[in-house]
Amino acid sequence: MSDLAVVTGGARGIGAAVAERLAADGLAPLLVDLDPAVEQTAAELGGGASAVVADITQPAGRDAVRAAVGDAPLRALVNNAGITRDARIGKMDEDAFRAVIRVNLGGAYELTRALQDAFADGGAIVNMSSRAYLANIGQFNYSASKGGLVGLTRALALELAPRVRVNALAPGLTASEMTKAMPEKVLDKLVASIPAGRMAEPAEIAETVATLVSPATWYITGQVVVACGGRSLVP
């Protein structure tokens, strides 16, 4: 029985790249997503990959993920599922605030609790925060959700030590369907502000996740890795 790696938001983008990268390390990815396309993503990965179509903000969705894990040793949980509902605070409505908090933060918290008893000794959790946890215009809600994940990371690192390590990864602008949908001028301006000179590729973010999951980084827990190409330093 292969060790499992549960990856939420696994249908595409960073989540799919993380699943592929962890599979290369010998883990069996269990991809979770609200989008049924996650089944196709898992099928294309092949090997021991599997998928669950589930809404992790709902108890039934979390139960489905827990049932899919079964008795397999859980080596990794990557809380990657997330949404945006951007607006300046004056134009943001409470539904948009609550939706982002519920999915990005509540989904991670509740699913982690649901899977807590399934972790193998030496397991690892990676919470996908964002550079926006340091602040971003038009993202009072998203920034709050990602800062909340940093808090969750610290608390769980203390609570679950020494059996399970917990870290957060805070990517900057990453090539995705969301960035593809942005106006070219806006995207160009954002990219110009990144010292690395380009967006991150999902595979690069996945590589950092694999590093944090690896037993080679066993002594790292409760930390935030900011992978933003230097963007958090520029004026």
Binding site: E110, I137, L152, A155, A157
Partner: protein, 151 residues
């Protein structure tokens, strides 16, 4: 006290009294996180939504805004739900500061340790409400954070 909105839970009323006693600032928002850990995620979401609503009102009025947080929660020392609340509020506060900077809106936070004196906390809250030129900052009123992770 006409323009100052004080959202202070029962466990932190000493701070509210100290703030009123020292001559409260004319306007703005002081939002202190509940002293106790939220009962569940639903309670946390409700508290964060209240923080959002009051911050939105304060931003519309031009601020300033001060959040009062728990220093142990910022380090995750009291449990997951409290840590999520503190982390979420600090990040939201920083985004509010960034978004409002052009319009002169200031937003800052005070983190209080277990032994922080109410009068001292009130002094820093008052200063952050009234003194210009500082925004997006976290002032920690105790020494328990020294040598620990940066928030």
């Amino acid at each position: 006290m006409s323009g100052l909105r004080l959202r202070v839970p029962a466990g932190l009323r000493d701070i509210e009294e100290a703030l009123r006693g020292g001559g409260a600032p004319a306007g703005g928002l002081v939002f202190a996180a509940d002293d106790a850990e939220p009962a569940d995620f639903g309670a946390l979401e409700d508290e964060l939504a209240e923080c959002f609503r009051l911050s939105q009102e304060a931003a519309a009025a031009g601020g300033p805004v001060v959040f009062v947080l728990s220093q142990p929660d910022l380090l995750g020392q009291r449990g997951a739900l409290g840590a999520m609340r503190a982390g979420a509020m600090l990040s939201a506060l920083r985004s509010l500061a960034l978004e409002g900077a052009r319009d002169g809106l200031r937003a800052n936070a005070v983190a209080i340790g277990v032994d922080a004196e109410p009068q001292r906390v009130a002094t820093w809250v008052r200063m952050l409400l009234t003194e210009p030129g500082v925004s997006g900052e976290l002032v920690r009123v105790d020494a328990a954070h020294l040598g620990k992770a940066l928030a």
